[in-house]
């Protein structure tokens, strides 16, 4: 048994040794994303979301919504169409396979604590862990840059993200009850959760 395990390991290592970080379907096509989202989707920025380890269903929905103008963004709409052109499934699979490290942006501890105290309202859908629920189309919030999370909440609050999406009605109603300052605290908290 140990021999077989070793053999399998050798085969596995040999199988991957030839493949560099830029090989494989989706990897070269994803390079255009790294200018803003970091190499392998590991965003180093406060405003650009981390794509490494992203659930493929969520990535694909985001690309399709940006391309269709449901999520309005002059930055993302052209790139979303480019990703569709080169194959969204491959690019989604590439990012999903990248190891994810939480954002290097460190929120202020006081903001994290204020956010923690208010975070229960998010957990109804996103779970206590904040990891979401793919079966219900609820994404993972944890470890994303706080600036990105805050901006998305502001967009929901103003009904500028996916305006006609019935599934988001309750979320947007909730956002309207939360002061902007608390949205920033919530962003700080979920950004800090691992």
């Amino acid at each position: 048994m140990p021999f077989i395990m070793s053999l399998l390991l050798v085969i596995a290592v040999a199988g991957t040794a030839a493949a560099g970080p830029l090989d494989g379907p989706g990897a070269p096509q994803a390079l255009v994303c790294s200018a803003c989202h970091g190499f392998g989707g590991q965003s180093q920025s406060n405003t650009m979301p981390i794509l490494a380890g992203i659930a493929p269903w969520y990535f694909k929905k985001a690309i399709q919504d940006y391309a269709a103008g449901k999520r309005q963004s002059p930055e993302m709409e052209p790139y979303a169409k480019q990703v569709l052109q080169f194959g969204v499934d491959d690019v989604a699979a590439y990012f999903a396979a990248q190891p994810r490290t939480a954002t290097p942006v460190k929120p202020e501890p006081a903001a994290v604590e204020r956010g923690r105290a208010a975070a229960v309202q998010c957990t109804v859908c996103h779970g206590v862990s904040g990891k979401g629920d793919p079966s219900r189309g609820v994404p993972d919030l944890t470890g994303q840059p706080p600036g990105y999370l805050r901006n998305q909440m502001l967009l929901f609050k103003a009904d500028r993200r996916s305006p006609a999406d019935d599934q988001l009605k309750a979320l947007k109603a909730l956002m309207r009850t939360i002061p902007d300052e608390q949205l920033a605290d919530l962003a700080a908290y979920w950004s800090s959760v691992r």
Partner: protein, 450 residues
């Protein structure tokens, strides 16, 4: 007025922005007014700077006169070349990469207009090459003096570097001779179109202008580096004058019949700056630093107290000397998939020096070309098919100290050529796009040099 967050919302948020500590060396805080001092940056970049300068440690050109394995030489450590050097190593670490870049530090042209207005420091846009060294790139701070395509060698003075494939990313050179009197006055007439000492000097001249003095900015005919750059500079100079020298004015002499990029957005922004006098189709053909006067093609003479003359441009000198330029003797034609020169085999050209692709001469495009070319070169050296990849362009312009606009272009490959899919502009200016601009800069500097 914008995609979702009003100015008042972002302004309110900025006042309570709850981030204080940034762990990553390349990160700048993403609120527009924050500055990172040179000292802070060096501290965060670790001990590499000191070690790199220790006598005897730095590699010399003569160390590379023989080639043992496969080698890629990269000429130019700017947006295209630095990215290409890094990504060849990422694509295949068994390939030796030698980067020739005379400057010991990289200074970012994007965001350098903010140094003129005092919104940013030059230190906050200056970076070293230490992380490329950590990735195994052999960085030599020497200029390439000649290319020998037949022998596959780059000459550096009396030494030569053999290569398997060469990536040339030489940026632009100025056509001094196109403006009478300019060649002899290069030290006094500033371009500040390559970020660095001239940027700092022009900022000083702007600060010392008398209240009521005239600042003249001249824009060359397209094609030139960074199409919206002169109009962003117009905003930054006008913003500074409006706040600090309210009696002064800015005269913009543009060789082009209209703004070359983001015209409607810039014109809307200029409504806030009545101190701008914009004159289209006013090509400057002569400068007289003694009389402090420029002359246009139409014969108009314009007096200035401070002059910023952006000269006409062509591909970097090494590209012209190596016969990589086309019939126009200005720019280099390349294959759209590999960026291999149409003139010489095994030599690839990327960045502002190229022509023929429907892309602007921007840092973002050069970065994209660097990545695509690196993958192509690594694929070719490994006898593998080159994957079809297209560049993208994200381009922010600051229209004040805190608001920005943007244009974004995406591309596909069609029939072996790069073809634009779409261009999008922001519907207006906002602080949110300025925040995204800072996020973009932090990310792409890291993508190049981190």
């Amino acid at each position: 007025m914008n995609i979702g967050v009003t100015v008042s919302e972002t302004a309110r948020f900025a006042a309570s922005v709850p981030y204080s500590v940034i762990a990553f060396p390349f990160m700048l805080r993403e609120d527009a007014m924050t500055r990172l001092t040179r000292r802070d940056f060096l501290r965060t970049s670790g001990t590499g700077v000191g070690l790199g300068l220790l006598a005897g440690c730095a590699p010399k050109v003569s160390d590379f006169s023989q080639k043992t394995g496969r080698r890629v030489v990269v000429i130019g450590g700017g947006w295209g070349g630095a990215t290409a050097a890094k990504y060849v190593r990422l694509a295949d670490p068994s390939i030796e990469v030698v980067l020739l870049e005379p400057n010991k530090e990289f200074v970012s042209c994007p965001f350098s207009n903010l140094v003129l207005s005092g919104v940013r420091t030059i230190e906050s846009i200056t970076f070293d090459y230490d992380r490329l060294r950590d990735r195994g790139v052999k960085v030599l701070h020497e200029p390439a003096t000649a290319i020998e395509p037949g022998a596959r060698r780059v000459r550096v003075g009396n030494d030569s570097l053999p290569y398997d494939r060469l990536i040339v990313s030489p940026g632009v050179e100025f056509q001094w001779e196109q403006v009478e009197g300019l060649a002899a006055a290069q030290d006094r007439v500033l371009h500040a179109w390559k970020a660095g000492p001239q940027t700092v000097e022009l900022a000083k001249q702007l600060q010392s202008i008398s209240d009521g003095g005239v600042f003249v900015l001249t824009i060359p005919p397209a094609a030139y580096r960074c199409p919206p750059g002169p109009y962003e500079r117009t905003c930054q100079v006008a913003w500074y004058l409006k706040n600090k020298k309210p009696k002064s004015k800015l005269i913009v002499l543009d060789a082009n019949p209209n703004l070359v990029s983001k015209a409607a957005l810039f014109r809307a922004a200029w409504a806030n700056y009545p101190n701008i006098e914009y004159r289209a189709s006013n090509k400057v053909v002569k400068v007289d630093p003694g009389a402090r006067e420029v002359t246009t093609e139409l014969g108009d003479k314009v007096k200035y107290e401070v002059l910023n003359l952006i000269p006409p441009q062509r591909a970097g000198t090494i590209a012209v000397a190596a016969d990589l330029v086309g019939a126009d003797k200005r720019w280099c034609e390349v294959d759209h998939l590999t960026y291999e020169s149409t003139k010489h085999k095994n030599i690839h050209v990327i960045g502002d020096s190229t022509i023929g692709l429907p892309v602007p001469k921007s840092g973002n495009v050069a970065n994209a070309m660097g990545k695509i070319c690196a993958v192509a070169v690594a694929s070719l050296l490994n006898d593998k098919p080159v994957p079809p990849m297209a560049p993208g362009n994200t381009c922010y312009s600051w229209v004040s100290d805190r608001e920005a606009i943007a244009v974004v272009n995406s591309y596909k490959i069609d029939g072996g050529k790069v073809v634009q899919i779409e261009q999008k502009l922001t519907p207006g200016q906002s602080e949110m796009w300025a925040q995204n601009a800072v996020g973009w800069a932090n990310s792409i500097w890291q993508d190049m040099l981190g």
